[in-house]
Symmetry: C2
Subunit: 303 residues, 2 copies
């Protein structure tokens, strides 16, 4: 039996576990925080991912740090120590998260922002004139909080690169920011999020309230239905939408993209409850997942 601990499992750790298991390799995920993917999901939504991952034969140890690795006589890893206990293993994958690589910028005395990423304006220009930066090394504006944030993602890097390129070539383009959208396949289900998690909402000074709705993806009578759980997070004082998290068999990408667009357009919660989304039985229930959840949220906030 192989035991493969993946440490501080962010999304990459869970993705690695999936692919190891699909190759028939026994695998254990070690996560130092109390729940899987803590940067992306609140504990309640992470629980759905945990259950699914466990059902696929992955062992998961949360709240566990790794203190030491041991090697055999040939210098290969043979075991590691966690909580004073020894675990045998043949392979270790470290998925401990990422940090912006800003050394070059620091050496050039380019301003680094509070998130650790390079500070840029909306034209992607650093605070040294004619020096532009884009991608995982720069910070961005969170359009929900209006504050700097750092979500290093390929799709964001691509868009920022286009804006930087256009401006370098004499154009006048702007990258206004992100809403913190992210999605990942976990075996047979999908987990996605946009906006702020409850933790991020609290850190940003909001007073989060949330609702969670589990519903069939299509009209209930339509063959081949799947199920989705959607959590919507709002500020209970200002009664504005702050974020969403979804876990489901299918349509998570649709639901997250719809809420991401709603957050970008600063839609009110009543507007989201009545939003005119595409309905036909093969694609949606008559109200649809987003509208259903928004209606429950509206009720909870007394709107």
């Amino acid at each position: 039996m192989f035991v493969v601990p993946v440490l501080l499992a962010v999304v990459i750790g869970v993705e690695a576990a999936e692919n190891l298991v699909l190759r028939g390799i026994s695998c254990t995920l070690f996560e130092i925080e109390g729940h899987l993917m803590p940067k992306f999901f609140d504990p309640d939504m992470s629980e759905h991912v945990l259950e699914h991952v466990k059902s696929k034969g992955v062992r998961v140890m949360t709240g566990n740090s790794v203190e030491k690795f041991n090697s055999d006589s040939e210098g290969n890893v043979s075991s590691f120590v966690s909580g004073g206990k020894d675990y045998e293993c043949q392979l270790v994958i470290l998925a401990t998260g990422v940090r912006p690589n800003v050394q070059l910028a620091k050496d050039a005395r380019i301003i680094i922002g509070p998130t650790g990423g390079i500070k840029i304006d909306r034209r992607m220009e650093t605070f040294i004139r004619n020096v532009f930066a884009a991608g995982g090394c720069v910070e961005s504006v969170n359009l929900v909080t209006g504050k700097p944030c750092w979500y290093p993602l390929g799709t964001t890097a691509n868009k920022q690169g286009r804006v930087a390129g256009a401006n370098i070539a004499g154009g006048e383009k702007a990258f206004e920011g992100v809403v913190g959208t992210s999605i990942t396949k976990v075996f047979d289900i999908t987990a996605g999020r946009t906006g702020l998690s409850e933790r991020e909402a609290k850190e940003a000074g909001f007073n989060p309230a949330s609702v969670t709705v589990t519903t069939s993806v299509n009209a209930a009578y339509y063959p081949g239905e799947g199920s989705i759980t959607l959590k919507l997070i709002a500020d209970s004082g200002r009664k504005i939408l702050l974020g969403a998290q979804a876990v489901g068999d299918t349509s998570v990408d649709k639901v997250i993209d719809t809420v991401a667009a709603a957050l970008t357009g600063k839609l009110s919660i009543p507007a989201l409850t009545n939003i005119d989304l595409a309905y036909s039985p093969p694609y949606s229930s008559v109200l649809g997942t987003v509208v259903k959840a928004a209606g429950v949220l509206e009720e909870k906030l007394g709107l």
Copy 2:
């Protein structure tokens, strides 16, 4: 051989044709206008539906009206006449569209709007106090034009009914309007739209410009990819987004819902080009269909 003409084929006609063919029944669609689903799709996008429907063995006659039906000695339909020509048939399905049933309202002297639907305010109250109306009999506000419109759909009726019910019970809810979203399964593909078609844009006094992008739904290297064609329509003067039409193997509902939310939030075209949608190879190309098309539109409009 059965020949089943479906007349004035709106969405229902195409759906009926699909189900007849799947039961092994030969079928011909007659459409009085020049292209299929003329109320929903511009001719160029309708062409994709036409090709697919034809590839499934449906005969399609556009620009054809039916002048006469003939019956056999038992009173069953035996043939019909179109363009002076006789067509043998055993079954006729008339899908000639719908009109609001407002007779009861007219009898009660309730005001009917310019679209033929009952005029209501945002509380779903008619212009006779304490009489509320909702569903296919009422008109709505088109949030893109700000003008009255009539799109009788189950999902809209459901939302309006909730608003009317809440207000009747002493609440204070509003239904602000729709953006004209609709979706339909056509055999193995999906066709969807939101906002205004080019025809509707011209009728509303806009000067439409459009771009059409065909792209793979997922990262091109990801297994099981499908393809989608997305048309975005904008006003070339005001440079605002007016609508979208999409035909594809999959993810049409996602793309249409995203644009519907963008239209509801009145996102600018540059904002749509940089919108933070969910990217991971199983779900999207690195930019995604909406962002790709918005980028081409931005370029075309010189933004």
